[in-house]
């Protein structure tokens, strides 16, 4: 006796698919007709009319064939698909706008010049964003150096030591992630800049960014460390290792790629932060390699200055800056994803 072919009788049959397609076509036609007749106008009018008519027709059809529960399911299905469409549309609009408007301002030159001799309203051949890129890199690096140890130590407390204060500390980390970026900026302003250094500098900005970064790194690291199976720790201790040696030589290396992911996510979180930089860094126009003295430019500040200058060239500069920033965020996002997937495989 030969084995029959596997089938999936529950997938919609050809007739069902054709009927559904027909309903869509009819709704489209009716939508156009309705819009022509009524005073509604614009692309949105067509979309809404199509949507409402499609729901109406397919629901009535479903209701007649199988009953009210299936009809309700149908309405819900259309609604959630619409919600997803609404959620996704801005992404495409944003990406399209940034690329189309920003590309006009991109030339090889802008990566080699800074704004020390130009103003945002000058034509695009003068000035550039070199200082912004080096500034952002400097700020991020300083913030990373400060936030990674604290973030990982916090995560270690929550997973390895698990003392009495675990729940309050976890709550505090969560609370800290909700601190608005401008409050972090004001804090550094009042606690460090005014009393101690009395001048704008990149380091001040990095301090504020650190506050914003720590929760992201701590939370992601905690998740990653929790995934390390306990057998590893037990094996280390059974061999006579102290706790810190077990953690340093076994647990952390095992969690290595996850911790790098945490760092990348932390960087992505702060790369585009503007408000604290506006308060603390002074927005310099020249490349400044010293984070401790002198105003420091950055991509967000550059974008902000250009946008506020208002002229068409300035606005193009702003879009170009946004494009560069977006590319940076994109690269960080993709690398984090790749790391996570490589770990699973």
């Amino acid at each position: 006796m030969s084995t029959p072919r596997p089938t999936r009788p529950w997938t919609p049959s050809l007739i069902q698919r054709l009927t559904d397609f027909l309903v869509v076509i009819v709704s489209m036609i009716l939508a156009v007709a309705v819009v022509e007749v009524t005073p509604l106008k614009g692309k949105l009018a067509y979309l809404f009319a199509f949507f409402l008519i499609y729901i109406a027709i397919s629901t009535v059809y479903r209701g007649m064939r199988t009953g009210s529960a299936a009809a309700k399911n149908n309405v819900v299905q259309a609604l959630v698909a619409f919600a997803a469409l609404v959620a996704i549309t801005p992404i495409f609009s944003i990406l399209f706008t940034v690329v189309s408007k920003g590309i006009k301002g991109i030339s090889f030159g802008i990566f080699t010049r800074d704004m020390s001799l130009a103003t945002p309203t000058d034509p695009l051949t003068s000035g550039g964003l070199l200082h912004a890129i080096t500034g952002t890199l400097t700020l991020v690096l300083c913030a990373l150096i400060m936030s990674v140890p604290i973030g990982i130590l916090t995560a270690l407390y929550l997973t390895e030591i698990r003392g009495r204060f675990t729940r309050p500390i976890r709550f505090l980390v969560q609370a800290m992630s909700g601190v608005p970026s401008i409050v972090a900026g004001l804090f550094i302003l009042s606690a460090v800049l005014y009393p101690i250094t009395k001048q704008y500098s990149g380091f001040m900005g990095s301090l504020a960014l650190t506050i914003l970064m720590i929760p992201t790194i701590a939370r992601t690291s905690e998740e990653v460390l929790k995934l390390i199976p306990n057998d590893l720790r037990e094996a280390g201790v059974a061999l006579g290792g102290t706790q810190w040696r077990t953690v340093a030589m076994i647990v952390i290396p095992a969690a290595r790629s996850g911790l790098v992911t945490a760092m990348i996510l932390g960087i992505a979180r702060i790369a585009g932060e503007t408000a604290p930089l506006l308060l603390l860094t002074g927005g310099g126009d020249r490349v400044n390699p010293n984070p401790f003295s002198g105003p420091m430019g950055s991509l967000p500040y550059y974008i902000w200055k250009s946008f506020n200058a208002g002229s068409p060239e300035a606005i193009t500069r702003a879009w170009a800056g946004l494009l560069v920033l977006l590319v940076v965020v994109f690269i960080l996002f993709i690398s984090a994803r790749l790391l996570v997937n490589r770990k699973k495989a």
Binding site: N73, I91, T154, L172, V173, V183, A275
Partner: protein
């Protein structure tokens, strides 16, 4: 004579010195968040205290924000009131949440239960990517690209629902209203709430989902019976997280909103502001005394967002216990 049950032995371990140092360092690191949050409250309070003491309760209830100084820089007269900005903060953030939450819930239900697999993966990646976009991008895009459309919708709402006081526009200034800011903020927080909701709905217990189907439920009936009740607390927590984010947003609101020092409850009228954008606006040429006022404003915002986040955490914490 029966033998009595012995007492359990007390086992003590003295950790090695290196381990005690290790525990000390790690614990110190763990306490850093407490330290930082405490310092924020202390410093902002310290700096802003004088202003709060002078203004008293008016700091929160009046909407005057003005300061006049003489040539030497001494303060002649000052009034600092956050009321207009607080109302604006709440209005914009609430508008954002009201718009964002239904869309986020719908999207996460679509992704988890209605979308084919390949679409789910693509859309999830896109939405997570959008969560990483910098806020200044939303601000500039919102101002240059979204605003005309948003104003069109505002005009539509005013045309059909203008009789409701919330939607009145007097005088007729329809540009750069809290509504527009709310829409931009909504687009910013949709990815966050969608992500959280998606996580929560995907953990709905499979055996109960199967039980619902076995009783003859349609997909929507199953979602209503099993998924939504199970995820309710978590999603509320996520919504509050989005609310907190919207309340503290600076640049995106600043570019889009017309900052006017007057309490404005009409979301379609082009006037308002939020505390964060006030700080940015005034910081540029603020005298030292005014800066203290801004610090005080920052403290108010800090406390506000802390409360919202604490509430969100509390609500989400209660899910894992009773949602089972």
């Amino acid at each position: 004579m029966s033998a009595s049950i012995p007492q359990p032995r007390l086992i003590t371990t003295q950790p090695r010195k290196s381990d005690r140092v290790f525990r000390g360092i790690v614990t110190a690191g763990g306490f850093s968040s407490l330290l930082i949050l405490g310092l924020i409250a202390i410093f902002l309070g310290f700096r802003g205290f004088e202003v709060i003491r002078t203004e008293g309760f008016r700091f929160i209830t009046s909407s005057d924000w003005s300061i006049s100084t003489d040539d030497a820089g001494n303060v002649l007269e000052s009034h600092f009131g956050l009321a207009a900005m607080l109302v604006g903060t709440i209005l914009c953030a609430l508008t954002a949440v009201v718009i964002a939450v239904p869309i986020s819930i719908g999207t996460s239900l679509f992704l988890n239960f209605y979308a084919p697999n390949f679409l789910k993966r693509i859309l999830t990646t896109l939405i997570d990517l959008m969560a990483a976009f910098p806020s200044i991008l939303f601000g500039i895009w919102g101002f240059l690209v979204l605003m005309p459309s948003a104003e069109y919708w505002a005009k539509l709402i005013h045309k059909y629902f203008g009789f409701i006081p919330l939607f009145e526009i007097k005088p007729y200034v329809v540009t750069r209203s809290p509504f527009v800011a709310g829409v931009v903020l909504a687009i910013m927080i949709i990815p966050i709430i969608t992500s959280i909701s998606r996580e929560i709905y995907s953990q709905a217990p499979l055996d109960r989902i199967q039980a619902a189907y076995a009783l003859g439920a349609t997909k929507w009936a199953m979602i209503r019976a099993v998924v939504l009740p199970h995820g309710r607390n978590g999603v509320v927590g996520g919504a509050m997280l989005g609310l907190g984010r919207a309340m503290g947003e600076t640049v995106a609101v600043f570019t889009v909103l017309n900052i006017v020092f007057q309490i404005n409850w009409h979301i379609l009228l082009g006037a308002g502001g939020n505390v964060a954008s006030l700080i940015i606006l005034k910081f540029g040429d603020a005298s030292p005394y005014e800066i203290r006022a801004l610090m005080a404003a920052g403290l108010v915002l800090f406390v506000l967002t802390l409360i919202v986040n604490a509430l969100a955490d509390f609500i989400v914490r209660h899910t894992s216990k009773s949602g089972r």
